[in-house]
Amino acid sequence: MSPSNSGVASVASGAAAAAARPRAGWSFLASELVLLFRRRRTWVLLATLAAIPVLVAVAVRLSTARAPGSGRGPAFLDQITQNGLFVSVVALTICVPLFLPLAVGVVAGDTIAGEAGAGTLRYLLVAPVGRIRLLLVKFAAAIAFCLAATVVITAAGALIGAALFPVGPVVLLSGDTIGVPDSIVRALLIAGYVTVSLAGLTAIGLFVSTLTDAPVGAMAATVVVSIVAQVLDSLPQLDWLHPYLFTHYWLGFADLLRQPVEFSSFSSNALLQLAYVLIFGSLAIGRFTSKDILS
């Protein structure tokens, strides 16, 4: 607590501090992560996502008591009853088309527009946070949320599956059998796949967020984009377009359940997502660095 650090320090020391080299700025990323993960809204989103595997497992448990192996529903649904570890995979399959895009839309759409709406954006920028640095930190935090969301679904699925169904060696799509530790690794690989899948949408949300001061508008637009992409992806007339849609490989994680692991859809997906991140990241930077902040 030297006097030069107190609030009444002289301007001379302020000038000296300003002349000093800037720090790497990790504390702002840390602050952003704390802000995101301390928010009640984030917890509500994660809790809702965690509830989905629980609902699925309970519903399957109750219905198999009456009609075992009906054969309807998403792939692997029947396998839940044989092995609780499949609950995670089923829950992710259910969440990927709508629930995860909703959650990611909320977080990514809020990045810049939320700060603008709260009136904090101008204070961050004069603090100062460089505009590009702010975008990078916001993107990193949103990706951290994507990871948290998929991990929460995976973990909740594994826990409820272990509680309600038998757990043991898993029979893969290829017919091979793997042990419990290996199957946990596979589950984490799938969570990683889904996280990567959401990177493109996150970048789109970040860009949309630089266009408006109304966070709800940016969130809604991001979610709508993800739905439109999936609709386009389902129209056979547009099959030339499909490989370029960021939703195209969203459900491709089943390949990770083969033996040996089939990584081709993982890498196609990663490449596609990277392209989206680069394109929409550049658009966001172009827009945000040239924008008048009037919020």
Partner: protein, 324 residues
Amino acid sequence: MTAAAPELAIETRQLTKTFGRQTVVNNLDLAVPRGSVFGFLGPNGSGKTTTIRMLLGLASATSGEVRVLGQELPQQLPGVLPRVGALIEGPGFYPFLSGSANLIRLDSADRFASPATRRKRVADALERVGLTHAAGKKVKAYSLGMKQRLGIANALLTPRELIVLDEPTNGLDPQGTREVRHLVRSLTDQGTTVFVSSHLLAEIEQMCTHAAVMRAGNLVAQGSLDELRQTGQTRIRLVTPDAQLALGVLAGLGLAADVEAPPERGGASADPQLIAPLPEEVAAEQIVEALVANGVRVRGFTVAGSTLEDLFVALTGEGFDVAQ
């Protein structure tokens, strides 16, 4: 800049900002001396906040040049902003965080601010604005005045060379207004330049050494308060019960006087006042002589430079609370 010119904390040349077809700031030439408390005065909507946004790199200028702390903007912005603290268009905080958590967040955004001293500096800043008791309270539970103080505390987190305060006393009670005035003066003791905008003349008059007056995006006057006072007309003020007689005498000397009703104070001196601009060629003693010679009972006579209020009303064409 010549060597003789005093160093300027803020200097703009022909600074202009247009929104669509509307010119909101028009060819502004500001010169804010270092170490001054500079009042930026103008009615609501006259372009003060827009100017401040350009000074801080939030909005780009349509044309013109800006130098802040000797650095050209927007090129040198990253080097300038850590030396500047600001309150812009009211406070903006995360309502779900406490006052001190908000300041910690904003301080961690500043790469020049030391994390080791962060908590201490936040506590000091809160103390300076009298918010220590509410440091742990969520900002959504703050009154407008408390948020305003928190906004000022944010500008004080690190020692700054320039502090920009946009209408800092908005929402504050008279006690809070006094405290802010005191705080602003204490800042200059450490050599900080303070640039403070307001639509209230009284406020500027009480805390500033210099001022600029805006009217609809145009700078209509600028200088030290004394210089500004001198640009106004000298006036005489005459207290007499013989108002009509005095009017005639003054008219004979070429003075056009206004009669003001007597101030409503319990009974005592209920004499009307006459106020007239004093032309340069007439000496004050000449007037008194003429008045007495014509039998006007002179109960009070003063010669004064015009008040700033007279000047500002004349410059801006209206009272100060009038929105555009």
